[in-house]
Amino acid sequence: LAKTTQPISMDSYEGQEVNITCSHNNIATNDYITWYQQFPSQGPRFIIQGYKTKVTNEVASLFIPADRKSSTLSLPRVSLSDTAVYYCLVARDTGRRALTFGSGTRLQVQP
């Protein structure tokens, strides 16, 4: 599976837009990009997934350039409750759908 690289940590303030970029240079044709959020002492929670271009849901947007070697998770107008670890994953449709978590980005939102 493609290795992912993302910033270890980020700081933001309430009301700001936060963009977390992940690089996955070795992404393969059949790979999907998925993002999960994890709060302390809780299991990860699925945020969004995409294959190319832009995907938006009620929580976030995911931007994927044409070469798919990176992706950017965009969180609009963050609040204190968005403080969490955000994991970028590249998932391959081999039939197993197993996920390999990278190191994650710890986002700290301050008032």
Partner: protein, 120 residues
């Protein structure tokens, strides 16, 4: 609400004393996963079941076993816990792996709250 339940939330066991963690789900999902997450690290997949088919990750120690008696329940057995096995153990579920023609692929897994295991 449909959900993934893990019991107990906190488990203390002694070095070398077998321990079993349990997971149940009301989502009726085909696939159940067990992850190990150590402090400040990312979750690491130990194994998963697709229905009754067991799939072990290559680097999962033999000390870890799993049972899935039915669709709803899955157990993680640690035969002889060591101090290095202290971690959060996460159970997750997802819909069937086999892609249906015309249906979208989803990598959404539903995680339980985890069981924090302490080994003394």
């Amino acid at each position: 609400d449909a959900m993934v339940i893990q019991n107990p939330r906190y488990q203390v066991t002694q070095f070398g004393k077998p321990v079993t963690l349990s997971c149940s789900q009301t989502l009726n999902h085909n696939v159940m996963y067990w992850y190990q997450q150590k402090s400040s690290q990312a979750p690491k997949l130990l194994f998963h079941y697709y229905d009754k088919d067991f799939n072990n990750e290559a680097d999962t120690p033999d000390n870890f076993q799993s049972r899935r008696p039915n669709t709803s329940f899955c157990f993680l057995d640690i035969r002889s816990p060591g101090l290095g096995d202290a971690a959060m153990y996460l159970c997750a579920t997802s819909r069937g792996l086999r892609r249906q023609p015309g249906s979208p692929i989803t990598y959404e897994q539903y995680f339980g709250p985890g069981t924090r295991l302490t080994v003394t």
